[in-house]
Amino acid sequence: MKNYRADFPMLARRYQDKDLVYFDNAATALKPQVVLEALNDYYLHHNANIHRGPNFLAEEATILYEEARQRVADFIGADTEEIVFTSGTTAGVNLVARSWGEKNLQPGDVIALTRAEHHANIVPWLQLQASRQIKLQYIEVKADGTFKPESLAAVLTCPRLRLLAITQASNVLGQFYELENILAAAKARGILTLVDAAQSVVHHQINVRQLDCDFLVFSGHKLFAPSGSGVLYIRAAVLATMPPFLGGGGMITEVKADSFSVAAGPTKFEAGTPNIEGAIALGAACRYLQTIGQAEIFKREQELSAYFLEKLASYPWLRLLGGTQNRLPLFSLVITGLHPHDAADLLGEQGIVTRAGHHCAQPLHDSLGISASLRASLAFYNTEAEIDYFFASLNTLRQSFQN
C-alpha cells in the first residue's frame, strides 16, 4: 500500500520529545487534510443556512450538503432518500427508539441486543423499557467473541420480538460479525433490524442492500470526519411510516397557527439548522476512502493485525479479549501486574495514545468478569514500527512495576 501518513497532519504532532503514536482510532480517528479543507472551504467560501433563502450562498451550501448525502448514500449502497444526517451513532439509535419505538412498541414487546453492545445501543432501549414496559433480551457472547448459538436461537424464536438491534463489530472484542444470516432470519419473521456500524464501517465495505437491514447507524468522527456528524440509514418503506422526532424548521412543509405538515424523506428527521459543515466533511471523508479503495485499506489493516497478533504471542502476561478470527485491528488487553489505567497513562508519556476502561461497554466487561482493559485500536496509517514501539514500551513499563 502507498504511504498515506502525509495525508494526516496530526501524525506530525509530537508529545514532549516523542513522536505521536496514535492507537486510539476506535475512540475517534484522525482527520485527513481533505476533510479539514472541506470544513475550511465551507466557512471560507459558502457559510450559509441550507434549504432556505434564495441567495447564492444558500444555494451553494444546499448543493454541497445534498452532494454529501449522495456521497454517503453511495458509500453504503443506499438511496439518498434513505440517509438522515445525525450528530452520530448515539443520536441515530435514540431517533429510532423515540420515533419508531414510541409509535410501535406495546408493553411486553421485546427488543433483542447482544452482550457486546456499546452503551449507545443499550441505554435508549433501557429508557423505553422504563417508559413503555418493553423487555430486553441479550444474545450472549462467548469468550472468543462469537455469539452463543443457543442464546441466538432463543432470541430469534422469541414470540414478542419486535426489533433486533445489533452491533456489526465489538468496540472491545474487536470481533466483526457476519450478520447476513441473522438479519435474514429476523426479516423472515417480520422483525425489524438495526445495525450499529460505528466500528465496522471504518474497516469493512458496507452495503445496506446486501445486509438487508432496516436501520444502520454510524458516526462521522470514527470515519475520519468531524465530531457531531453522523448517519442514520432508514429503509425507505420504513422511513415513510415513522413520525418525526424533533420538531422545528426544516422538517415541515407547512406550519399554521395550530397545525403543521411534515416533510417527506430524510429531512423529516433533520429539524433545525443541521451540522452542515460536518455533513459536507463526512462526504469528503467517504470520497477520500473510496479514492484509496476500501479493499486496499482492509488488506493493509489485516497485515497490521497479523503483525500485532504475532508480537502479542510472545508476551505471556498479556491476555487478549476475544478471538483471533474476523477481527478489526482493535485489541483490548488485560495485563498481569499492571492496571490498564496506569498503562494508558504511562504509555502516553511515551507518546503512545491508547484507551483504558470499560470502553462504554460495561455489561460486556461484567460478563467477562473484568473491570477494565487497555485498548489499542489501529488504522491503515499505523505502522509495524509503531507496533514494535508499543510492545517495547509496555514491556519496559511492566518491568518497572515488578521491582
Binding site: H339, D345, G357, H358, S371
Partner: protein, 124 residues
Amino acid sequence: MDIYARNILDHYQRPRHRGVLAEADASFHELNRSCGDDFKVYLKLKDGLIEAISFEGQGCAISTAATSILSEFFLGKAPAEILKMDLEALRSLLGIEISFRRQKCALIGLRALQGAVASLAPSA
C-alpha cells in the same frame, strides 16, 4: 505524574490495612466505573477518634496507593479531619504531582472515607 515515586509504588505493591474491618462503625463503597476503580473502606472509632481503618477492592497504582497512604495518615485523628481534606492537601500528602487526568484516581479513597464519615451518626 510520577507513579514511580518510591512511596507510591511501595503502597501499591504492599497496601497497608487491606481487608474487612470487623465491627466497623462505618463503611462506604466508592466506584469509578469508567476507570475500573472500586474500593470499600471501613472505619472504627474510639473516644471520638479513628482507631482503625481498612479498605478492600481494586484499582490502579494511584488509587490504591492513595487509599493506603490515607489509611495510615488518619489513624488517631478526628473524623472531621477526613471531611476537611481537599485535593491540595492530598497532593502534598502523596508528595507527587497529580495530573488532571488522574485526579479521580487520586481522590477515590478520600471520597470513600468522606462517605463513611458522613454516614456516621452525628453524635459519633
